[in-house]
Every structure is written in structure tokens, then in C-alpha cells.
Symmetry: D2
Subunit: 364 residues, 4 copies
């Protein structure tokens, strides 16, 4: 219980918060009207980035444990969902920023040079903690992304690259799920059989497509053979590892299989939360990807092909980053390997019981 | 141009901004996890309130002038629209806050007493500047709303009550529109004739409604007579003033007529911006009304019928305030007096020319 | 597999769908431009209402069973969440409809009389299936809501009133949860003790509030005593039943207790999905309530105080319905009875084990 | 006035609308649960596409005239804004569709082959009418986009390619704006002088950027020279025409200049609506671009790298189309040529008067 009566403005430290808007334009006179919006939008972004980092920290602490109890998992999912619930705000804040026209921006843009949104260390931390890999990061005008950060910020960014990311934790957690190694239940052999049947069906679709001329058909069959090649990796650890080596997969073999298994048998009670965890991460990855792309459009709309305040051609960089800086791309690959429920191998009864609750058993 | 190279974090004063989150729970130990969200949502609200006040200030300064040039008006409209564009953010921030469950809130709620969102002086300033009248304000547990504010905040709130509001400026601007007093074009007499015909049609609708039993029909005809009574006020300054006296109208007679005229003849070039101005104010009034109501639902969902931290039964207060604290309710009354375009008196050609551009005339 | 090659337009029956827009205005000539928008918005509403009914049907079928297996429950939750995901569309469709101004509406409004949105039988079915009670429904101009429906629609609406609603199914499902009757674990006695302590704390908050004058304090203490009176109902089946009799509670005593238990111990694996179920229903109730209120504002904005096409004073009715037509209001009462986690009685170890998974046990 | 009393369901032709959902799965038995959602989402898309086409038709009819009166322009803007207001619905409908998981989709996906969203002729008409050029369109597996359409749909699509697009109308309207040829006011010469000064400033920014190493600086100066090259096109009709020839510009020289002039002097009353027109088109272009990209993410999430039902690798195609199928890309190039207001040549007083209202003049 508070000792002195709390006051709203003190509790929220509004004296700090509401005096932190210092327009650079105007030189002490009246600043450019729209600079206030520019500052406040970016400050609101930073507040939400802090909140996202707060949630990520709690999630990563929980997932770093050698054993993640089921009761903990529901909290992890709730916090990831909160991040996903914050993402629409980031989108809408761009809508608000877009009420500033290019001409209004020009009223104070020169004052910002060479500061740039690329210098948001909180956003870099989010990326690194999710699992964006240093090696795949776009360079900014020939230099690594952290080159323009202050020494302090750079240190924080580089340190976060050394620590295990959320994807690393996810990988370890998935890889040790016991249900990959069920006594004599040889799931993956059954699955391979079922998959082979589906492949044939897919090929038939292409060959039977009346709208394709021979050239298009051949092109497409080539694509299909490529898909099959990727499919093979599902049943061959070495090929999967090779894809990882080429940067085409991010998760380890065991983790990828476990994620697929959870996806396929998500109805089993024990998989409810793990499945929601995977969906929440998919949402977050999609949310940031769409946001980066939208951000690129906004920059193009505001400055066209001008050089950005940070010295880069803004919208082209952002557009490329949208695809490159994804931390959970593998979750978007899982559907490639899904087969219809009707073709899915049935789980052995003993396995199914293991995946349920005590209570349900007791009730029957 | 900046003398020293700008750095993103310095420009945004992130050292202040990102150190202003001081959870009250935990006593120096780990705070309740969700208190961070609670703080950041409210800080984000305050940032946006500051932005809204910034836009309102510019708009009010422009509208306070004795002559508002047409070129100024487009800026006024753009800024009001920006406020309307910010409002969805306020809604979505409630969505995010709602990811906090009642139990999570209880982890730190006692620490907040007696602080309360009712103490947001920025929100009170927004209300006062828009035109919420002290007399119609809900009292908070028997006391005026500013009773729980700090002396400094209270002073600011009370001062803002003394100054002309945006509605006052709008009123003066509308009332002096020249087009109410066109030489020998007696608009209002023509309009009264047209209106009388419409009234008859409305009455016929009710009397001819086959789904109404006699009791319902009588009840509805009574409602219609009431509407007509209000209608009369359109053609009778004294009756309008009487409605103002009873708190049923907020705009003066001349202003109300001008607003209706703009609404009816919005296609005339000179009315384009004035019409957009009225629409933007309508949007803002609706946005805050819906937000207050949604806020009430959130509070009910978070604390049920518990007494709020500020000592009030939160959701009931907020629900009532949704209707009571409206500054532009009159704009929602204009449709009552609109008649179909087909019945609208034609403007005299000389008037129409006056409402157009030089250029268009020159082109013909 | 389809026998003939499918074509997009045939699959979607676009020939039906896109020829179902027949403006009433224009008499065969050019219709009022905005009538198309009016038609399409309402048709889009009806499409989504059909989808909501589709999901409700699946959910109700599952919940009607005497035993709802845990694996089924995740599907129920997913489908309720889909309804909640559709609700923002309903909101945004009002935003789109609001691009129509009152004057544009007047161009065709007379053609609609006496048709009215009140005649949407699908929306009535949604309300009835969720659990809106006939007795609490607002009458439309002295007659029951179904009075203006066609015989066929009326029959459907009345039939849906006779069938058990989703709230009825929820009630039965909650009431038979086994965890209310744990061997010798006397949960409710422990809870009552903990609650009594909290009540005292609440009262102290009011009495210690320095901002309250004596009059306000007394008023508030009275409110608190009322809250306590409601609280008593938690431990007294007869008082709860009395509240049900007065329309202040909708769930049965056992169901209400079970819902509270799930809310308090939601971290236990077996309660993960039941808790998400309650949250989804809370979201849905809140979503429709906010939508009704927003709809009322739109109607006021479009027609002011005119009599609606269906013969009612539209916005006043809709505003009242927002509160009255709620099917899961009790879920918003649960927080009233929540106490902080720190004060929560610990579950007996044997109970906690029962609420977990087989596997977790096996792993240790 | 309607002769027979209207009934809601008849007015909306709900008998047609609500019987147009015929799932392909189930063979007369229970269909796959989620196919209903799939159908209804796509039907809702088609309803909104119809509405967009309706608005586009009205807008294009107005803009096709040899003289577009100012009063007409406000209607054009309102209708384009309505399209922009519909676009968020299209986004949110993807959110709703995303509640369908890959496994749920597999339950009926095979039934759809070879139907595909690529066959939505309404969407093709929207693209063509906005101004997507046949030459820049992505081919679908080696064939033009209309290859898989039914003969009737193909005819409609090809016909729409022959007609002038909205961009064509915009071009003609912009090109004939009188204010490009003001008596002896040589605007473009003044502008060129002002621009040259800005160019120098831009170059100084790069050269003075302390964060760039020599390699990066050279790279960036090269980019800047490229920007300048593009800039030259502003003052050189031939170079502009060359850019048009290479597909880097879509508007004619005169139209591009007029659009820039309107952007720069938007505060002049006569430019209020023309500026809003350009902004609305920018919004629409951005909205569809972001939607296509988001759609690509959804497809990747639903089917991964599987071949789409239409026989293409869906998400890759859609991602490319996001950039390629833009009709108003030039509006995103305007900011490249904007210079700060402080450097903007002043309009001659006589010109400024011409751009204002009669009335304002009369008032002074």
C-alpha cells in the first residue's frame, strides 16, 4: 500500500514525460508545427518498444529454463499475444504520421540530419532477441547496422547478438519435447508414407490443369520437384542441416519436426498451449514484416527518392529488410509439410492418453 | 541546420522518456509484471493528449481571428482531421490494456489508491477546450471534477474553463458568415415552405405504418409532434434561445442556421472547407463519445462493481459521461432539419457565383 | 475432388451475389448514388451474421453434449475467437457507412419505409442464441421485437427463443465441473475468509480517501455496503437465486462459482482452455455492446432526432439496447469477487496434480 | 415512395445473398467447417469490389468531362475517400481469414482446384480502371493474367484495358489546368533556381555525414547524382518523356508539373480540392499495395511453398505484384521534387487572387 497518497501525474512521471518534446526547428522561436507530431509518434513507438522488450524478457526467462511447466506456458502465450496486440498500434501510428505531408516534413527535416530511425536501439534489441541473425542483416551503406549507434547503444546491440534469442530458446524447447521419441510408435515412417501419397496428388493437379500450356506446365513441374526436394529434408537430417547451412532454415532438425507434430496434432490437450505458442510467434513475425513494408511505403511517400536523414535511400532499404529480418520464417514453412487430417496417421491410444489430462481419464 | 550531429536518442530525449516508468509494486523488488503495461498505456495516452492539445491550440488560434481566410481554413481542417486520426489509437490502446486480466490488475491495484485517470488534467483541458460545459459536467462523488487535482493542475483546468472554447470560436465564425444575409434572397422563408411539406410527409409515414397498433401510433405521433416543436425553433430565434437556456442546444441561433446552410449547400466551392470543418468536429465528438463508452466497458471488465481507485464506481460514471460530456452535440441535430436535395430551394444565380472561384468564372 | 474444373465465379456464386443489389430509388432510372453503399454495407453485415451463426451453431453443438472433451474445447475456443475477430469488421463497416452524409441518405431514405435494420432476423437469432432473454428485451414502440418480422422470420426468431442458448449450455457445463466438489478440500470456506479480509481493506480505502467530503464518503460507503451485499450472494445460494430472480444475475449459483474458480486458478493446465472460453465470451459480449452503442451514434448522426424508417426514434432505442441486450453480463461481475493472488488459498497438492497432465507427472 | 411496404429481407434480396454459400466439400454431407468462412470472406471481398467499382465509375465519369467544375470535384474527392475507407476492411478481412489454420484449409483445398483468387474479374477491373498497365503486369505462369478467365470475364477484362483509366483522366485534367501558363509569371524558372540551391544542400549533407566511410560516401554521392538526373527531368520535357518510355514515369510532363504545383501551393483555396484529390489517390495506391503484400504473407502462412490452387506459387507472385501493379506511383515521386516552403517562389499577387474566392475579395 502506498505510504503517501498517490497522484496520477506523479505516478506516471508526467513531469518527465511531457517535457521531453523539444523540437529542433524554430531555434527557440515557434517550431515547425508538425515537428511535434514527428516527435510524439516516435516517442510513442519507443514506449511500445519498451513494453515489447518487457514482455520478451519475461517470455525468454521462462523459455530459457530446462523444464517449462505447462502452467508457465499459458503465461508465455498470453505475453506473446500481448506483443501481437501491440503491433496494430504500431501500424496505426504510421497512419497518424501519414497525416504529415511531404511539404510539412520539409519544414524541419534538415534539422534531423544525420539522426535516423535506424538508430533506434530498442528496435534492434527486439530484432536480435527475436532471432534476426547478424549474418542476414542488411548493411546500411556498406556498414553494419550498429555503426551509427552511440558507443553505449552499440554495446547493448552487440551484446544482445551474443545472447541466445527467443528462437534459440524455442529451438531447445521444441527439440527436447518427449513426444518425438515415443516407445515403439514410429510416427515419422507413417508420416512419410502418407506424404508420398500427397505428393502424387499434387503432381496430378499440375498435370491435369487444363489452363496450363506445355511450357507453363514444365515450369511448374520443375517448381514441384523443388518442393519435393525440400520435402525430402523432412525425412533426412543431413539435408535439413544443409538447408540450415544455406540459410534456408533457421530451426534445428528436431525442433522443426516437433513444431510440425504440434501443428498436426494440436487438438490433443497437451498440445493446446504449444500450438498457441507457435501461432503467436507466427503472428508476431507477420506483424513486424507487414509493418516494415508499410513503413517503407510511408517513407517513399514522405521523401520520394531523396536520400534519408540517416544517409540511406530509405524506402528501398526498408522494403528489403521486410523479408530479410524475419526471425520465425520456418513457421511459415510448416504448411508446406502439412497433409490433410484425413490422411494423418492415427496416434497410438497410449500416446493419446499421455497427451490428455489426469482428470478426463478419472472421469470416464 | 543542427550544429552538432543529431543522434536519434538525444533528439527524442529517450533518457527521460524511457526512465519514467517506475512501478509502485514490488517495493524495489520485482514489480507486478503487468504494472509496466498499465504505466505505458497511460503514458501513451498522455503523449497523444499532448498532441491533441497541440493541434487544438493551433486550430483555436486560427479560429479566434476576426477573419479566417479560406487558405487558413484548409490547415484548420487538416489539423482537426489529425485529431480524428489519433482517436482510433486511443481505442486500440484500450484493446491492448484489455490483455491485462482482473487478477493481474489486482497484483498492484492497491498501490495506486487514490490516484485515478480522473486526474488526467490534459484530458480535462481537451474537454474544456472543445467546449464541455462546467454546468453539465458530472460531479465525482458530490464534488466538482477538479476537486481531486493538484493545486497546479486545478488552476490550469479552471483557467481553461474561463477561456473561449473551440465551440465558442466556431459559434462566432459561423454567426458572422455573410451568406446568411444575402441581399433580397430570402432563404429561410423558402426553406420553411419546403420544410412544411416534409413534415406532412413524415406524419404520413407514421400514420400509414401497417405494423403499428393504435397505441404505438399515438405514442409515435406524440414523438413526431415533439420533433416538430424542435423544428419550430429553426424559424424562431426566441424558441431556439429557450432551447439553449434548457441546455438542449449549444450553438447560438445564427451559428446553428449557418451550420445548416453549409450542410445543405456543401457542394458550392466556398462551402467545401466549412463543410469539412463541421464533419471533422462531428467525427471528433463521436470519437470521444464512443471512446468514453468503451472505456466504461473496460473498467467494468477489470474491476466489476468494485469501487475505483479514485473512490468512484468507475464504469457507471464513465457511461454517463459518454453522453454528458459532448461538446458538439448540435452537429448531430442538424440532420433533423435537413430536407432532401430535391426539395431544396435553388440558390439565386448571383449567390451561386459569389460562392465560386474567380477562375472558374474567367474560364467560361 | 471436383469433377468439373472449378471456376472462381461459379464457386462463389457471384452471379447471385453480385446481382442482388437492387436500389429502390431511381424508379428504373439512375438510382441515388449512395444507395448502393447502403445496400452493400447491410449485405456485408448479413454475410458476417451468417458466419457468426455458423460458428455459434458448431460451438453450441459441442457445448450441448453431456461431456465436452478437452480436445473439443480448443475448437470451441477457436470458433468463439473467430466471432470476436469478425466483430472489428462490424465496427469498421459502420465507419464506411459513415462516409454517407445525412443529405445523401435523404436522397433515398423515403423509399425504405417501413423496412428497418430491426428486421434483421439473423441478428435476432445471434442475440437469442447467445442468450438475450425475451423478458429483458426492449419493446419496439410498445410491441415485441418480432412484431414487424415476416411470418417466416418471426417463426425462426420465436423458435430460437425456445431452444437453450449458448449461455444455457455454458451454465450446464460450468455447473457440472467436478472441481467444485473436491473430496475434503473445502475451497469456498477458505475463500470466504480471504474475502472478508479484502472487504475490510476496501472499506479502509474509502474511509481514508482524503478527497472525499463527509457526504461523498457516506454515499460511497453505502455503495460499498451494496457491493458487500452482492458479495454475500457468493456464499449463499439463496441470495444468489434471489439476484437471478431480480434479473441481476444470469448464471446459476454453481455455474457462477465455477466461472470464478476458473478465473482464479486459470494457470492450472486443465483450466487453460476453460479460462480462454470465458475470456472469448467476455470479448464477444463487449464487442456487441460497443457496436450497438456505436450504431446508435451513427443513427443519430444520420437522421438526428427524426423518426427512423422502422417507425422508432432510432438512436435512443439503440443506446438503451446496448446495455439491455447483453448475454454474458455476469462475466463482467466476476472481477467484483476476485481477490489478489497473494491472498488466494493454495490448492491442495492432490488437486493440483489432478489439474495437470499425465506427461508432466511422468517426466519428473 | 415505395408502393408496397418494404421488408428488410426483400430489399436486401437476402434470399439470394444467403443461399449463395455452397461448400464444395462434404459431397452433400457435412462440409469442412472452415469452408464457410473461406466462401464468406471471398464473397465479402467481391461485394466491396463491386462498391469500389461503383465509386470508380462515378469518379471516372466526372473526370472524363472536358471541364470538371469545382463543385463536382468535392464529390469526386468524397468518393475516392470512400474507397480509401473501404480498404481497411479488406485488410481486416485478411485478419479474419487468418483464423483459419493451414490444416483447416487442407480439409477442403483440393476441392477448389483450379479455381483461384487470380480469377476475380472485379479485382482485375479495379486494377485496370485505376491504371495498371497491361505491359507491366506480371504474367501468371507464362500466360497473361486473363488466360484463366471465363470467356465473358476475359472480354470484360480486356475491354477495360482499352478504355481510358482513371490515371488517364487525371492526366488530361492535370495537363489542362490553366495555372501552368500564367501570363508573364514564369514559375518554373524561379523554381529551378530554388531547386538548384536545395541540391547543393543535399550534397553537403552527404559530404558532411561523419558516419560515412569514404566507400559509403562515394556510393551515396552516386545515388545523389542519380537523383539529380531524375530532377533534371522536371525541367526538361524530353528527359521526362524518356522516363515515361522506360516505364519510370506514368504521367505526362504537363500533368506531372501540375501535380507538383498543386502539391506546393495546396493552401490556395482553388487548390484545396485538387490537393485532396491527389492525396486520396495516393492513399488508394498505398492501400492496395500494402494489401497485396499482406495477402502474400497470408498465402505463405496458409500454404507455405505449396503450389497454389490456381497452379502458381502464390505468395511469391503476390509479393512481386505488390510493387508492379501500382497505378499512381508517380504521386510517390512528387516529394522528390518538393522544396521547403521557405525556399518556395512567391506567387504573383494577381495569380494568388485568381486562386481565391469571389467572396473573400468582396469582403475586404
Amino acid at each position: 500500500m502506498a505510504t503517501a497518497p498517490r497522484y496520477y501525474a506523479e505516478y506516471l512521471h508526467l513531469d518527465r514525460l511531457l517535457t521531453a518534446q523539444r523540437p529542433a526547428s524554430g531555434n527557440g522561436g515557434a517550431p515547425a508545427h508538425d515537428e511535434m507530431l514527428f516527435i510524439i509518434v516516435h516517442q510513442a513507438f519507443e514506449l511500445w518498444f519498451k513494453q515489447i522488450l518487457w514482455e520478451l524478457h519475461a517470455v525468454m526467462t521462462a523459455m530459457a529454463a530446462d523444464h517449462v511447466p505447462a502452467r508457465e506456458l499459458s503465461r508465455v502465450v498470453a505475453r506473446l499475444r500481448r506483443i501481437a496486440a501491440i503491433q496494430p498500434l504500431l501500424h496505426h501510428q504510421l497512419d497518424v504520421l501519414e497525416t504529415m505531408t511531404p511539404l510539412d516534413f520539409l519544414d524541419f527535416r534538415d534539422e534531423l540530419v544525420p539522426a535516423s530511425g535506424f538508430q533506434s536501439v530498442q528496435f534492434r534489441l527486439i530484432e536480435n532477441r527475436l532471432g534476426v541473425e547478424p549474418a542476414t542483416r542488411l548493411r546500411i551503406k556498406g556498414a553494419p547496422y550498429f555503426a551509427t549507434l552511440s558507443p553505449e547503444d552499440r554495446e547493448a546491440a552487440e551484446a544482445s547478438q551474443q545472447e541466445p534469442s527467443l528462437r534459440d530458446h524455442l529451438d531447445r524447447w521444441l527439440a527436447r519435447t518427449p513426444f518425438l521419441r515415443f516407445g515403439d510408435f514410429d510416427f515419422w515412417q507413417d508420416y512419410q508414407t502418407a506424404v508420398n501419397e500427397m505428393r502424387e496428388r499434387e503432381r496430378a493437379i499440375i498435370e491435369g490443369n487444363p489452363n496450363l500450356d506445355p511450357v507453363a506446365r514444365d515450369e511448374q513441374l520443375a517448381t514441384h520437384r523443388e518442393t519435393i526436394a525440400g520435402f525430402d529434408a523432412l525425412f533426412d537430417r543431413d539435408r535439413h542441416d544443409e538447408l540450415v547451412g544455406r540459410g534456408l532454415r533457421q530451426l534445428s532438425y528436431d525442433a522443426f519436426l516437433a513444431a510440425l507434430l504440434i501443428t498436426l496434432y494440436r487438438d490433443e490437450p497437451m498440445f493446446h498451449m504449444p500450438f498457441q505458442l507457435l501461432v503467436a510467434l507466427t503472428d508476431i513475425d507477420e506483424g513486424f514484416t507487414a509493418w516494415r513494408y508499410r513503413h517503407a511505403l510511408l517513407v517513399q511517400r514522405l521523401i520520394g527518392d531523396k536520400v534519408g536523414t540517416g544517409g540511406t535511400s530509405g524506402h528501398v532499404y526498408l522494403r528489403k529488410a521486410a523479408e530479410r529480418h524475419r526471425a520465425f520464417r520456418d513457421l511459415f514453412e510448416l504448411p508446406t509439410y502439412c497433409i490433410p487430417r484425413s490422411a494423418l496417421p492415427a496416434l497410438a491410444p497410449s500416446v493419446r492418453e499421455q497427451l490428455g489430462f489426469h482428470w478426463e481419464h478419472a472421469q470416464s
